[in-house]
């Protein structure tokens, strides 16, 4: 899963994308226009970095479906803030299957294959019935493939409002105090609704074999001056598990199944079917190792929508290539922050700030 060097991965993924991107372009006219106008002929792509990355915001502005409507088995939606248009991803059976398999394979490599009790630090409503899933729901359900039983540790108190169900979570963790259990939640919710709440009530658990997977929401935590180290320290103290069992991962609903887990050295790695490129902020050329830039994620998983080469709205930095201390090959990177609006520079910017920019 992580044995390919960067150059080997380049050789493995490039031919797939040279074939896949034009096919998606034929089936999805907006993406076809994107490639025709900004891509150059796919046979001329000699590196993954030469494939034009599609800004993720385009999933909010265009219906980007590359299969017939009746072939869509699931719609994935970004969680989005209230009032924002969510991204909508049309997933067909083959893509759904591939995404599920890929997610399981990545998790298995990091946490082992054994199924185990599963505590979701979210409310049951996050995984609604039907064929439409939010990013949260998709992640909960995807990781749920490792579950022998599932308990939800939060409950919904109103539209968009959640409160901890510490009784349920406590009973779960108490019942499995010496057993391997899997805990998952979105970082901000884990922090505000579980860690802080448990600390406030003076509750600490003894889930010595728990593994907490968490993702997303770092901007809100950064705003509250909560670092990753602080989060890891205090979450491990509340759960009673080692710090190394608190595992952050990076992923986006537009590339479901393709997740980038923290390794033992605290770096994130792309699995065999994915890749990450950091692009220099000023030129959008691939940045050098150690140079922060905009994260681009590459995945060969989706074939029902053009989500293979995406320019994210996040900043990151490649910290190692093929030589991460953990032993995994390929590019190892760290997530830094969301791309922040620069300070207003001129009187005209005040108009742009009022109107918003694309």
């Amino acid at each position: 899963m992580f044995s390919l060097r960067d150059d080997e991965k380049e050789r493995a993924l490039l031919p797939i994308l040279r074939e896949l991107c034009p096919r998606l372009a034929r089936e999805c006219p907006p993406y076809g226009r994107f490639l025709a106008r900004l891509g150059g002929p796919p046979p001329s792509w000699e590196t993954l970095a030469q494939i034009p990355p599609l800004p993720v915001a385009m999933f909010k502005r265009f219906a980007l479906r590359a299969v017939a409507e009746e072939a869509v088995v699931r719609e994935l939606r970004s969680s989005g803030t209230t009032g924002q248009t969510p991204s909508v991803l049309a997933v067909d059976k083959a893509t759904a299957f591939r995404q599920a398999k890929a997610l399981a394979a990545v998790l298995k490599e990091r946490i082992g294959a054994a199924r185990r009790p599963y505590l979701v630090l979210d409310a049951p409503e996050a995984v609604g019935p039907g064929d439409t899933l939010t990013a949260r729901g998709a992640a909960i359900r995807g990781i749920g493939s490792f579950a022998t039983e599932t308990v939800f540790g939060l409950r919904r108190t109103g539209p968009g409002d959640l409160e901890p169900d510490l009784d349920a979570a406590g009973a779960f963790l108490e019942a499995h105090r010496e057993e391997p259990v899997l805990v998952f939640g979105f970082t901000y919710m884990v922090w505000t609704r579980f860690v802080l709440e448990a600390e406030r009530r003076g509750v600490a658990f003894h889930a010595t074999q728990a593994i907490l997977l968490h993702s997303g929401g770092w901007k809100k935590l950064s705003d509250k001056a909560v670092s990753k180290e602080t989060f890891t320290d205090r979450a491990s103290r509340v759960l009673g598990c080692p710090r190394t069992s608190i595992i952050d991962f990076y992923g986006m609903v537009e590339q479901a199944g393709s997740i980038f887990l923290d390794c033992e050295a605290g770096n994130k790695h792309a699995p065999a079917f994915a890749h990450v490129i950091v692009r220099a902020p000023d030129s959008l050329r691939p940045a050098r190792t150690g140079e922060p830039g905009i994260l681009e994620v590459v995945s060969v998983l989706p074939t029902s929508y053009p989500g293979n080469v995406l320019l994210t709205e996040d900043m990151g930095v490649v910290v190692a290539t093929d030589d991460c201390p953990c032993g995994r090959k390929g590019s190892a990177f760290r997530f830094l922050s969301r791309v922040e609006r620069a300070p207003l520079r001129g009187c005209g910017d005040t108009f742009a700030a009022t109107r918003g920019t694309p």
Partner: protein, 425 residues
């Protein structure tokens, strides 16, 4: 220590209130009023020369433009227009005005300025009219780290002209920064002001507008503005001089990284029998390509450019011209009569319309400058008359869009900065 006071020595002094600064400025009011305007102008001209030569300032974004603006002829012309035909001598004392009457333009007093953005030259553009009016000024900058502006003021302090030294002029002004949420400081500044000059977006303008003020205080508000360009049919149908016009639009887009209120974003072209939308776009692109390279770019802007490119590329009926993946410049093409949201950093939206009359309904008071190029002056005048009625403040040739002149945003620059005193002996 909430107040950062940026001194001409290059140092930054930390204070907890504005009082020491306000007291020092008050002491400067009388000496400032005594200075001869011609010497004040000469000192500014020297300042304009020095900033091009001084290592601290010569590479600051927009400094060449500022230097040209500080030339004597420009400042004299600005004063001539702003002083209602009475001549700049009115700034030095009474001048005859009709039979047996005299008028003098006296300093308003203390001018409080709230700046927007952190382009280093903007505070200087705002400050100079106040110095010419012999006011004292307290500028609340938008950035806590105004390195470029700070350097410019340091060079001003070393300038001289006639009997006026730059050190005198910088004593007339204080540059400060404090957090915009410091309500008491904002209120103190507002109440101390005899004139208020406000640059900013809607939220800032509203917030500063709500501050208490002296009943006599005058005000000039330079709120959020949008600028555009219009090329007439006949202009596009005549080859001669067309490249000069397109090159001027490209330059107007490049100056201030397209972040000034006078920066063009949408360029409307009239449908014509010679140059189509794509062909005009390619011509404009060549001139953007010929510009000197940009100096760095932040991730947010690059992402906004990538998104705009993708959106125009993916939409039916739209297109885009780019130099490659690098976000150095972008021309987005469409036929939608609308003001495109600014992306900045050399991103132009080229829109074909049947006639300039089509765009009149979308013009309003938020549009500041139209860079216009029509083949005959009659048509230019017709456009300007209609656009002016809709609220547009300036219709000027491409290449002159940023010419900071009086009137600006429809206001004579010196009007809020001077008090007219009548003498009928």
């Amino acid at each position: 220590m909430r107040v950062h006071h940026f001194l001409a020595t290059g140092e930054t002094r930390r204070l907890d209130s504005l009082e020491p600064i306000l007291e020092a400025l008050t002491r400067e009011r009388e000496p400032a009023a005594e200075r001869k305007i011609d010497h004040v102008i000469a000192c500014h001209e020297d300042f304009g020369r020095r900033i091009l030569e001084d290592a601290r300032t010569r590479s600051i974004d927009g400094v060449a433009f500022l230097s040209a603006w500080l030339r004597r002829e420009n400042l004299e012309a600005t004063l001539a227009l702003s002083l209602h035909g009475l001549g700049r001598a009115a700034l030095d004392g009474f001048v005859p005005h009709g039979r047996g009457a005299f008028l003098a333009a006296r300093p308003q007093g203390l001018v409080a300025m709230w700046l927007a953005g952190n382009l280093p030259t903007l505070p200087v553009f705002s400050l100079v009219p106040a110095l010419l009016a012999k006011d004292v000024a307290l500028l609340k900058l938008a950035s806590a780290d105004p390195a470029g502006t700070h350097a410019l003021i340091s060079v001003l302090a070393e300038s001289e002209g006639g009997s006026v030294r730059g050190a005198d002029l910088v004593r007339q002004a204080a540059l400060v920064w404090f957090d915009h949420r410091e309500k008491d400081l904002n209120e103190r500044l507002s109440l101390a002001a005899d004139a208020r000059v406000v640059w900013g977006g809607r939220a800032a303008v509203n917030a500063i507008g709500a501050l208490p003020r002296q009943p006599h205080a005058t005000e000039a508000v330079f709120g959020p503005k949008y600028s555009l360009a219009v090329l007439g049919r006949k202009r596009l149908e005549r080859e001669e001089g067309l490249d000069a016009v397109l090159a001027a639009i490209a330059r107007d887009a490049a100056v201030f990284d397209q972040r000034a209120c006078s920066s063009p974003h949408t360029v409307f072209i009239e449908k014509n029998g010679r140059l189509g939308l794509e062909a005009t776009g390619e011509r404009l692109a060549r001139h953007l390509e010929a510009l000197p390279p940009k100096r760095g770019q932040d991730a947010h802007t690059s992402l906004a450019i990538a998104s705009a490119r993708a959106e125009w590329a993916m939409s039916e009926g739209r297109s885009v011209i780019v130099p490659g993946l690098e976000p150095s410049w972008t021309v987005c093409l469409d036929r939608e009569t609308s003001l495109k949201a600014p992306v900045a950093s050399r991103t132009l939206f080229l829109t074909e319309v049947a006639s300039w009359r089509e765009i009149l309904p979308i013009l309003g008071p938020e549009v500041q400058t139209c860079g216009i190029s029509f083949e005959d002056d009659e048509e230019a005048r017709a456009f300007a008359e209609r656009a002016g009625l809709r609220g547009v403040a300036r219709c000027v040739r491409p290449g002159l869009m940023h010419l900071y002149e009086s009137p600006w945003d429809g206001k004579m620059l010196l009007d809020p900065l001077v008090r007219w005193v009548t003498l009928r002996p």
